[in-house]
């Protein structure tokens, strides 16, 4: 057994033990669905970030940075993570105030005149979107395990599946948020360990920046627009910038309202925890991305021809790091995948048992048992689908995230901020946003449509959903009960107006501002200035590119 297999096996065992222990404390439906609504800030931050970042961050996005698009990824992330705080302030804390068990249930109760229909529509989008996402993450993690441990793919699939299914089905959200937080810590350490060794292999941070600024095999690796060219994704800086801003906006909506992010707030012990966790998540993700992006770009200095680029970080683990840190890196990549998978599985299971096929059972215990069996059934179905790798599923995973942004985004915010939105408008808004985005993406994927950046399928879905809500709302009137429900959402509970809690939350918001100031100082001193100096040093080669793509002498 190689050291990577040992590391991964030990980590899986620990997650299983911790998850099982947490499962023993699950007595009621509230414990299983929303961890008893008692989670402190650390656990909410852990589960928010861990369920957001998966193999797509540690393999896909590091590969994307390695190819030369790292700076655009930083721009995208800066816009994206703003959704955490804005989502928490303008949706998440109201969602928690509703005391629903799932986000779909919140929609059903908010739009009570057609509650079942709205809850089912939201439930189906979870089943379709998150099942696809779950399969993609499971398959991605299995490929990594198979590669680093030298076991067959089918065996790796069973190991990965068991690694998240066993404790998720037994412990529900109570186990998921604890293991998510442990996994969050493991992959944060892994990200910075990788950066440390990659920097060391490049001769230190400033030598690395200088070498990257003048790196000839791939030009402009760390210019603000990244590498450009006919063989690359973008030819002009403005195209890349538009992509980064639009994707940042769409993923900003995802972290604000998507089920696997906003549902975390249902578990928070109070509304201060919701706001605090969102602020810490912004800081944690943005700091981690500085490490991931610069680390991935710098792998080029050791080997600029890794193919496929998604293997860049794994290659760095094998070739640039000593065994123990490399084991931590592989365990961290695995943790990122498992944490997302456990959250997705739990949400699909919750939706199947609670939003789509609710059982009018005698008591909590029976309902808990049925929900656990449903969860296990969903897990087994996911294993079967992942094993046979139906190709039709993969393209869904490609855009599953932004489906929620366009279908849930407008309905979520209108549900809190508009008295006029009707239940029918909410239902058709979800359907139009989901359908518009999915159809445009399908036509683009099949090569039937070639959409410009400004007509991204996400934007089409978002516009369709918003227009549908407006038009359908004009044709009807929200019921009195719906208006009363919304009014109740805007009533701040007295227990939340607490001097001590307020001071703590304000301290964290100020800490986020201070982190922003430090990040600016760090990036100017350690990136922008040394980059400009290195470009200036190569004299006539020193060029900066304006937005239209033409080069100017600096």
């Amino acid at each position: 057994m190689n050291p990577y297999a040992v590391g991964i096996a030990i980590s899986l065992l620990i997650y299983l033990i911790v998850g099982s222990y947490a499962g023993r404390k699950v007595k009621h439906l509230d414990d299983y669905f929303v961890a008893g609504r008692s989670a402190p800030t650390l656990l909410i931050v852990g589960t928010l970030v861990a369920s957001f970042l998966s193999t797509s961050a540690f393999l896909g996005e590091t590969g994307f940075s390695y190819q030369g698009h790292g700076p655009l990824l930083l721009i995208m992330m800066a816009v994206n993570v703003m959704g955490y705080v804005l989502g928490a302030l303008f949706f998440g804390r109201y969602l928690r105030r509703s005391e629903a068990l799932t986000v779909a249930e919140y929609f059903g109760r908010r739009f009570e005149s057609q509650g079942k229909r709205v809850q089912s529509a939201a439930g189906w989008t979870i089943i379709v979107g998150l099942s696809a996402y779950l399969l993609a993450v499971t398959q991605g993690a299995s490929l990594i395990v198979s590669e680093v441990t030298n076991i067959p793919y089918s065996a790796a699939l069973v190991v990965v599946w068991a690694g998240y299914t066993l404790f998720t089905f037994y412990s529900g959200s109570r186990g998921v948020i604890i293991t998510d937080t442990m996994m969050f810590m493991v992959f944060m350490v892994a990200g910075f360990a990788a950066l440390y060794y990659i920097i060391a292999s490049a001769g230190g941070w400033f030598a690395m920046i200088e070498a990257l600024a003048t790196f000839e095999p791939k030009r402009d690796l760390i210019a603000w627009h990244g590498s450009l060219g006919p063989e690359l994704q973008w030819q002009a800086p403005l195209d890349g910038l538009s992509w980064a801003l639009i994707l940042g906006l769409s993923w900003g909506l995802v972290v604000a309202v998507s089920p696997w992010q906003s549902s975390r707030y249902l578990m928070a012990k109070d509304e201060h925890t919701v706001v605090r966790a969102s602020c810490v998540a912004v800081g944690a993700v943005l700091i981690l991305y500085i490490a991931l992006v610069f680390g991935a770009i710098a792998i080029n200095l050791a080997n600029s021809e890794i193919d496929p680029p998604e293997r860049a970080l794994v290659w760095a683990g094998f070739h640039l790091m000593p065994t123990l840190p490399a084991v931590i890196l592989m365990t961290g990549i695995m943790a990122a995948a498992l944490s997302s998978a456990s959250t997705f599985l739990s949400l699909v299971g919750f939706s199947a048992s609670h939003d789509l096929f609710p059982h009018p059972l005698r008591d909590d215990r029976h309902q808990l048992r049925v929900t656990r069996y449903t969860m296990l059934g969903v897990g087994l179905a996911a294993l079967g689908l992942a094993y046979f790798q139906p190709p039709a599923i993969m393209w869904i995973a490609y855009f599953a995230g932004t489906l929620f942004a366009s279908s849930w985004g407008p309905v979520a915010f209108f549900s809190v901020w508009s008295d006029r939105i009707t239940a029918a408008a909410a239902f058709w808004g979800i359907v139009a946003g989901f359908g518009g985005n999915a159809l445009a993406k399908l036509l683009e994927y099949r090569g039937i449509l070639d959409l410009p950046v400004l007509l991204d399928p996400f934007l089409i879905g978002l516009a369709l959903s918003s227009a549908t809500i407006w038009i359908v709302s004009c044709l009807g009137r929200a019921s009195d009960a719906e208006r009363a429900f919304r009014a109740a959402l805007h009533h701040v509970p007295e227990r939340e107006r607490d001097e001590r809690k307020l001071r703590g939350t304000l301290r964290i918001a100020r800490a986020l501002i201070a982190t922003g100031v430090i990040a600016i100082a760090f990036l100017i001193a350690c990136y922008a200035r040394p980059y400009a100096a290195a470009r200036a040093a190569i004299g006539s080669g020193a060029q900066s590119t304006n937005l239209s793509g033409s080069a100017n002498e600096r």
């Binding site: 703003m82 602020c279 912004v282 800081g283 943005l286 607490d498 307020l502 304000l506 100031v517 922008a528």
Partner: protein, 40 residues
């Protein structure tokens, strides 16, 4: 101003902007009522 400098400023500014919004809204919504009003 170079694009790299703007990127450096923008990256940190994202944290500053949302931190400032959180500060303002939390103060507005969660400040305990003044003592006189509590007595009333």
């Amino acid at each position: 101003m170079s694009g790299e400098l703007l990127l450096a400023i923008g990256y940190g500014a994202a944290m500053i902007v949302v931190g400032a919004i959180a500060l303002r809204i939390v103060k507005r919504d969660y400040s305990p009522p003044p003592r006189r009003q509590q007595r009333d």
